[in-house]
């Protein structure tokens, strides 16, 4: 189960809307207790596919005429290294990553599956004509054949005190 607050989901949705029609991406940081991954922080990251030359260096696209930042995301490993180091120093772990599917459902694609790692939560936001619609979280099956839908619990904002 992945637990995040309504405010954290809002940060993801705003990022997804701001990047449309490109895909957005970011990291989910927090801690795992038993079967529950509780998100403590959501951090937007840069989609390296916006810089095709550098992105191609790390992970070449098979069909550059069909693939771009509109249907692909890639996280800069240098930024990832810095982010992971900073998170570790603060006692947080990488629970997974989020990304958007502009004008596509919040279901993982075959490309998502080929590039997925076990255990991580992959939160996908469907963005329809610039408006974030639904978000679902997925975990790769142990045999890599498919993704399993992960229970996503959104904690409501606490009422203001005083």
């Amino acid at each position: 189960m992945l637990k995040l607050s309504a405010e954290q989901l809002e940060v993801i949705h705003q990022h997804a809307a701001a990047e449309y029609p490109a895909e957005c991406c970011g990291v989910l940081l927090g801690n795992e207790a038993g079967e529950v991954k509780r998100v403590a922080e959501v951090a937007p990251l840069v989609n390296l596919r916006r810089d095709p030359v550098r992105a191609q260096e790390y992970m070449p696209l098979r069909n550059p005429d069909r693939e771009s930042e509109r249907n692909r995301y890639l996280i800069d490993p240098n930024e990832q290294l810095r982010m992971e180091k900073d998170a570790r120093a603060r006692g947080l772990a990488v629970l997974g990553y989020y990304h958007s599917h502009p004008d596509h459902p919040s279901r993982p694609s075959e490309y998502d599956r080929e590039h997925a790692w076990p255990w991580y939560s992959y939160l996908i936001v469907a963005v329809e004509k610039g408006t974030p619609r639904d978000s679902r979280s997925w975990v790769l099956a142990p045999d890599r054949s498919d993704f399993h839908l992960e229970w996503l619990e959104i904690e409501k904002a606490k009422p203001a005190t005083g």
């Binding site: 991406c25 069909r66 692909r72 996280i75 990832q80 570790r88 596509h104 993982p108 255990w119």
Partner: protein, 108 residues
């Protein structure tokens, strides 16, 4: 020489849930092979069938990507930190091109 290898969260289940593991090695390649000898479940996630480091795996020696050093032959020294950084990539199905080709079929 002992170097510390940082294990990313998805691979900790194959490394006794540890966040980092100290291994004796004089090169990056030795450190990684020492690691997969101790924890054999890590092997298929780090190496491809030809025994090369998978392209989806980035390895950093301290803050440097080993691709820009001497790759697996890069020497390591006492107290160096080796980080395994998994490539994170994905994206929506590329249906724009698919619908484009359907359109071309209808037109021709």
């Amino acid at each position: 020489m002992a170097v510390k290898v940082i294990i990313p969260t998805p691979l900790r289940q194959y490394a006794a849930k540890k966040e980092s593991i100290d291994v004796e090695a004089s090169t990056v390649g030795e450190a990684l092979s020492g690691l997969t000898t101790q924890y054999s479940g890590l092997r298929r996630h780090l190496y491809n069938e030809e025994g090369k480091i998978r392209s989806f795996v980035n390895v950093y020696l301290n803050d440097e990507d080993i691709r820009y050093l001497s790759k697996e032959q890069t020497p390591v020294k006492e107290n160096d930190v080796l980080s395994i950084v998994p490539s994170i990539a994905g994206g929506a199905p590329s249906s724009r091109a698919v619908s484009g080709s359907i359109l071309r079929c209808i037109c021709s």
